[in-house]
């Protein structure tokens, strides 16, 4: 049978980079084909070529055996190719139907929008594939998982046969991921074909019919899930053996380092973001904050580190009141902070690596004497850290913007961990990073913990939270709904809490039986 989609020898060069090097990919009808690779491996470039955003330098695209040229996303849609981006492109104040109609508006004879006809089609599609979306609901009222389904409906409404899902699980709770997988299965049963982009090994193994691994712009190989496991996929992705399970010695919590009491914080719009939150973190322990993105974790971390105004409540660091203290005071008391948005807050991309490595200590000896910067010392310091933290950069003078995401993050980690600290606040420390860098950063965090540092870890990656934390605090709608010791923190239980299920009910649902982590 002719494959529904075939890419032959796709090559794409950017100045100085070979993003795609003669990539071959075949998608059979009714198949879920996973594209697995580290960031920067070339997955997104390849999909952007398929979606008409880039033109390949070499290579051909065949759809149903017919050679095609795709000049624009409109072309791609005309060819039956649709893409769900990582960031949704929905208008919150429109209804589901209006969002779906956008750009494809069907009008009645009098020129007015025919919403009812469109809504009927949305309902049909929704029922056919088990999407369960109300055509008249406003998008702003829908949970993220359902918004994603609206994106899928948009594609189906435009009669797409090939669906590209770019990291679709990144924003979902574990339960929502399961629901998405059910939908994907239902789609392929009814003849749709899916390209599933991910860097999460477990998910890929669970859902895909075929897994193609890309590394440095080349196809490393394609495997069926039944003949692969996480270790094999990880080493294919990275190109070397990778340690997936971490050695985590039992924690020996000491005195409390960070004490947070009844914290009340609002977001930019003045909406309540952190709603009377209390917890403490002891030396030598990792407290993980789990939660779906946008449940107040960002604001909580910013408030603790002095970057957001605290309306009510207290923050104490080593017994000292640091409520609404300036960031520098909090830093000087011994706080290391890995910010959530590394490119916006954590680095000055236009500065060299060496400048970024002293961004928080530039004014202190030995980096400055009086007001004079000691560039020679700064350079030596940078070279030592580059070596110690394995930052892959041509030199300490290279601009941070030229580094890969993983190495940019290593610059931040090196800067924050190389100082003598008592508290480490890490927000999304491995978001978007490749397996190798994640492994490295996790080891560094555990290393700090065994040195007696108190670690506050906020992450939307539940796997990361469960792997590292000694206790897990779950945030939902600005509140900490439960703080669970590692032994009881199973994926299912925490997942239910993240979705807003009250602790007692969640406990009942999982039947109190310990469920395997991982």
């Amino acid at each position: 049978m002719t494959p529904i989609l075939e890419l032959r020898g796709i090559t794409k060069r950017f100045p100085g980079v070979l993003a795609n090097d003669h990539i071959n990919l075949t998608l059979e009808k009714g198949q879920i084909h996973a594209l697995l690779g580290e960031n920067g491996a070339g997955k997104t470039t390849l999909m952007n070529i398929l979606y008409g955003l880039y033109q390949p330098d070499e290579g051909e695209i065949f759809i149903n055996g017919q050679k095609v040229t795709i000049h624009s996303p409109a072309d791609a849609i005309a060819q039956g190719i649709g893409m769900v981006h990582q960031h949704f492109m929905l208008i919150p104040v429109f209804t589901v139907t209006e969002n779906v109609m956008l750009g494809e508006e069907s009008t009645r004879f009098d020129g007015f929008l025919d919403r009812d006809q469109a809504a009927a089609r949305v309902r049909t599609i929704s029922e056919q594939y088990g999407l369960a979306v109300d055509p008249y609901a406003y998008v702003k009222d829908l949970p993220v998982g359902v918004q994603q389904r609206v994106e899928i409906i948009k594609l189906l409404y435009r009669k797409a046969d090939i669906l590209i899902l770019d990291e679709p699980t990144a924003v979902l709770t574990p339960q929502e991921v399961e629901e998405l997988f059910d939908i994907m299965r239902s789609l392929v049963e009814q003849g749709k074909s899916i390209i599933f982009i991910s860097h999460k090994l477990r998910e890929v193994l669970e859902i895909a019919d075929l897994i193609t691994v890309i590394r440095r712009g080349r196809v490393v190989g394609s495997v069926r899930p039944e003949e692969a496991d996480q270790y094999r996929l990880a080493s294919m992705m990275v190109g070397r053996e990778v340690q997936l399970e971490l050695e985590r010695p039992p924690s020996e919590p000491g005195e409390p380092v960070l004490e947070v009491e009844n914290l009340l914080v609002t977001d930019e719009l003045g909406q309540l973001a952190v709603d009377h939150v209390s917890f403490d973190v002891h030396s030598g322990e990792i407290l993980g904050i789990a939660g779906v993105q946008g449940n107040g974790q960002t604001e909580l971390i910013e408030a603790i580190t002095g970057h957001r105004h605290i309306l009510e409540g207290r923050v104490r660091l080593l017994g000292q009141d640091v409520t609404n203290a300036p960031p520098r005071v909090i830093t000087e008391l011994g706080t290391g902070y890995i910010p959530e948005d590394r490119q916006r807050d954590g680095l000055v991309l236009a500065f060299p690596v060496m400048d970024n490595l002293i961004l928080r200590t530039y004014y202190k000896p030995p980096f400055a004497r009086g007001r004079r910067m000691e560039w020679e010392t700064i350079r030596q310091h940078a070279e030592a850290l580059v070596k110690q933290y394995d930052i892959r950069t041509p030199s300490a003078l290279t601009l941070c913007s030229a580094l890969s995401g993983g190495n940019q993050q290593k610059v931040i980690v090196a800067r924050e961990l190389s100082r003598p600290i008592r508290l480490l606040v890490a927000a999304q420390p491995t978001r978007g990073l490749d397996v190798g860098s994640i492994e490295y950063i996790h080891q560094q965090i555990l290393e700090k913990r065994s040195q007696g540092v108190a670690v506050l870890l906020a992450s939307t990656e539940l796997d990361e939270i469960l792997q590292l934390s000694d206790r897990v605090a779950v945030m939902y709608r600005g509140q900490i709904v439960a703080i669970v010791p590692a032994a009881e923190a199973t994926k299912d239980y925490i997942g239910l809490l993240m979705a807003g299920v009250p602790p007692e009910e969640a406990r009942q649902r999982i039947g109190r039986k310990p469920v395997e982590i991982g």
């Binding site: 950017f14 100045p15 100085g16 980079v17 993003a19 960031n39 920067g40 070339g42 997104t44 470039t45 955003l53 996303p73 409109a74 849609i77 649709g82 893409m83 769900v84 960031h87 492109m89 208008i91 956008l102 750009g103 494809e104 594609l155 435009r158 712009g217 300036p326 960031p327 830093t331 902070y337 948005d341 916006r344 807050d345 954590g346 680095l347 000055v348 991309l349 236009a350 500065f351 060299p352 060496m354 961004l359 928080r360 530039y362 004014y363 400055a368 007001r371 004079r372 910067m373 560039w375 350079r379 950069t393 041509p394 003078l397 601009l399 913007s401 030229a402 890969s404 995401g405 190495n407």
Partner: protein, 428 residues
Amino acid sequence: MNPEKTPQPPDFGKLVLEEINHEAAPPPQPERRKRGIPQSVLIPLLAVLTGLIFGAIFIILTSQEVYNGFGQSFGAGLTAMWDVVARSYTALFTGALGDPVRMINALQSGNALEIRRAFNPFLESLVTSTPYIFAGLAVALGFRAGVFNIGAEGQLFMGAITATYVGYKLVGLPMIIHLPLALLAGALGGAIWGFIPGWLKAKTGGHEVINTIMMNYIAFRLSEWLLTGPMKRPGSYNPVSPEIQPSAWLPRFFEDPIRFHLGFFLALGMAYVVYWFLFKTTWGFELRTVGSNPYGAKYAGMDVTKNTVLAMTLSGALAGLAGANEVLGVNHSLAMAFSSGYGFDSIALALLGNNHPVGVVLASLLFGTLRNGATSMQLSANVPNDIISVLQAVILAFIAAPAIIRSLYRLRKPAEGEGMITIKGWGG
């Protein structure tokens, strides 16, 4: 979904750029410089060349001689074209740098006066460059801190006013006190004019581009009022200030009519100070961090507000010095409209100089030379003044828009931040 008709999210272009620049990070290139002339030098040179070519077209199109020539015969027309362009550009060159033949002859004759006269065009170019250096540094320092100081012209006027006032009002001081005092007054006048929009930005969020433009108008009108009122020279029919005391003059190195004065070296010294400040001190590090990424600066514990105000104030002080330099070094009094747009041209200079003090000095020398040469082109080649303005504007446009030059000459776009690495080479 249908992105063609769906409203694009605003960061779409950024996403694509990130895809190219960051996610697929280019393999590190060990050697930073390619062989050949670096683009930071090549582009200004090509811009001047292109500007001269366009200028030649304008000169030809506006020359009566050429039309007369073509009236006679085609050959005569071509000859006239060649003649007028050659004559104009010879005048431009000798006016800017001096006549080489005359300079050699003068050196051989050993006649001191003749030597000075032969070299005067070159020295005069340096005189013209001096306010450009000060004002260019002012704008460059602002850019480094992330503020767009369009108000250099107004700050320059304020600096000139205060320097003039101190210059003629204080009588009987020795030069060693009076001159620094007058310069300081100039810097202070500009600094106040820069501080106000900086403070407004920090406190109210009022954008400095708008506020500095408004401050310009206030400065212009204020100077007009002062020159027709309180600061008017007694007994004069012209709106001009009293003459500045010679004790506040920037000393000249040669006799009249050679105007080359100490200001040029002060400007070079100031370029070094700005360089040192920006790249060797923690003040400069904070300023540059705030300018490059205010979020990162906040995260690093820096005071973004304070640095914004500081940058505008220092920028104003430098522009004020440009004004002081003109009144104390060249004019010795303040007249209406004494500045011919130095403050505005300095924006282009800062950009051309990559906001680096060394670049600003080089760009200023280029500008001063062109401007000085253009004056003599008008005098000796009879090219209308307006055409010279056109020529300057064309060169300026090409310099300010390197993208045009790159596409004209098919140069490759430099890697992101190439210029910054060069700068780091200076700083490290």
